[in-house]
């Protein structure tokens, strides 16, 4: 619609202020990426302990540790992105519960507490039964912790591209994809090829579903909203982010899917690992492109 109007009116902005640049920069990309891994490995351990209890036994402490590291990165980058980081405590003392940021910060803090408890129960107390009970609650909490960023994106009324429930699905899929990829890489010899193959299946299916959602938005999004159409121009044709978008899609979804099929036919762990590495790094690119493009559009 806009195109027809532009052609008819030849309307050009001739005097205005310079508009602000990117509001949420790469720090937010790292935030989302690290959180996906931090919650994703918890989901994977939960599944592995049910499917391969013997092998997953030795993964209790390493998983808690990895999750602590990545959730710490997530929290650190959240803090670094604030313009007033020393006022972070306001979130706890003047909370505004309609905000996904508030709810997320509270949940992430409790999540961190549970992870610390998991590390204590596995490394110091060595109590597997207690660990598994805590893990159940940690895995349940990991779901809203993963989802709250989608809620936050949906609350950004200005950014039409970020719709619910699409973002929720993408957040959960990103956690499953990065969690399985990281688990394939970190499990070393602790897991058999069969167990890794299961993780590969999770990776491949998450990649497939994520890719389908991105392509659906890419093709059908512009048919519903003119703002979405304008934003997607940045990843089409000669758009500023076209190359980055497709590099991300190939690295995170298409190549890993092909490699997983290949690894299953050739029973190759090496190929599986390559798929895991590609999808882990690619995910950061995919997330970054989706974060930046709606911010390029003038709002007024």
């Amino acid at each position: 619609m806009t195109h027809e109007i532009l052609a008819a009116t030849n309307a050009v902005v001739t005097l205005d202020v310079a508009l602000p640049g990117i509001v949420w920069p790469w720090l937010v990309t790292v935030n989302m990426w690290a959180k996906s891994i931090g919650t994703g490995v918890i989901f994977m351990l939960f599944i592995l302990l049910r499917m391969y209890p013997e092998q997953a036994n030795k993964l209790r402490f390493p998983t808690a540790l990895v999750s602590i590291v990545f959730i710490s990165i997530f929290l650190l980058f959240t803090l670094a992105d604030l313009h007033q980081p020393f006022r972070m405590w306001h979130i706890f003392f003047y909370p505004h519960v309609t905000s996904a940021i508030t709810v997320g910060a509270w949940m992430a803090s409790i999540f961190m507490g549970l992870l610390t408890l998991l590390a204590y129960q596995s490394y110091i107390k060595k109590d597997n039964a207690a660990y598994d009970k805590t893990l159940l609650w940690t895995a349940i909490l990991a779901i809203p912790v993963t989802l709250y960023t989608a809620g936050l994106m949906a609350q950004c009324t200005a950014r039409e591209l970020w719709q619910m429930p699409t973002e929720s699905a993408q957040m959960i899929l990103a956690a499953l994809l990065s969690g399985s990829a990281f688990m394939i890489l970190m499990s070393g010899r602790k897991l058999s090829y069969e167990a890794k193959n299961t993780l590969g299946m999770i990776l491949g299916l998450s990649a497939l579903m994520s890719f389908i959602i991105y392509m659906s938005e890419y093709i059908f999004g512009p048919m519903k909203a003119e703002e979405v159409a304008a934003v997607l121009e940045y990843i089409k044709g000669n758009g500023q982010y076209t190359v980055a978008f497709w590099v991300g899609q190939w690295m995170t979804y298409l190549l890993p899917m092909l490699l997983i099929v290949l690894s299953r036919t050739s029973r190759s762990e090496g190929i599986l690992k390559l798929a895991a590495i590609l999808s882990l790094f690619g995910l950061a690119i995919v997330k970054h492109v989706w974060l930046i493009i709606p911010q390029l559009l003038p709002m007024s």
Partner: protein, 212 residues
């Protein structure tokens, strides 16, 4: 009481008096604006026309900025103004991301969010907002939308079908109206914006809060 604004674009002549008055009254730092007047040229030479649109916060009834603020730094006053408490703001920029009208900025001096407050401090002393006082053609009409006898209510009644808001599809219910507006003036996607090619300026985008 529900305070609101109406700009009659038939009257506005793009003098930017309101923009300057706002800058001075609120000590708005360099490179940031609470209120600005955008020029959009329409047509092909010699059949051309220049339009002027003052743009400020809409003080939305259903404000996404207020909803997303994690610490209630953005809050409603009893008179309907969406106000900001800069001491409480943590600078997460959630509000900047949520506002569909690009009305919020990060103040490079305080590193907190800021925006038009309809001059809440002046209103509290029964004065008109600085931009209203400065406008030489009374294009800015300010008052209580709930009072049928106020100037703004009467203006809305007279112009009824011609009263518009920006981006009504966002469901924000702005308390800021335009008369004489059109797609070109109110919809940013309806005009070409070539960054770095406006009159008197070749600046492209500005860093948020003074840094990226």
């Amino acid at each position: 009481m529900q305070l609101g604004f109406l700009v009659d674009l038939h009257l506005c002549m793009g003098c930017k008096g309101c923009e300057i008055a706002c800058k001075v009254e609120n000590e708005v730092p360099l490179s940031t604006w609470r209120l600005r007047v955008k020029y959009v040229d329409v047509g092909t030479f010699p059949e051309t026309k220049r339009t002027f649109t003052p743009l400020r916060c809409n003080h939305c009834e259903n404000a996404p900025c207020e909803r997303i603020c994690p610490v209630s730094a953005l809050h409603y006053l009893e008179n309907g103004i969406v106000n900001i408490d800069k001491e409480r703001c943590i600078g997460c920029a959630g509000c900047v991301m949520a506002c569909p009208y690009g009305a919020i900025y990060i103040d490079p001096q305080t590193q907190t969010a800021d925006k038009c407050t309809y001059c809440a401090h002046r209103v509290a002393s029964s004065m008109m907002p600085a931009c209203v006082v400065a406008c030489p053609v009374q294009a800015n009409i300010f008052g209580d939308l709930e009072d049928p006898k106020s100037n703004i209510s009467k203006y809305i009644q007279v112009h009824q079908g011609g009263v518009q808001v920006r981006k009504p599809e966002k469901g924000t219910n702005p308390h800021h109206y335009y008369v004489g507006g059109g797609n070109v003036t109110l919809n940013p996607l309806a005009s070409v914006r070539e960054n770095g090619h406006t009159l008197f300026s070749n600046i492209k985008t500005l860093p948020i809060g003074g840094h990226h």
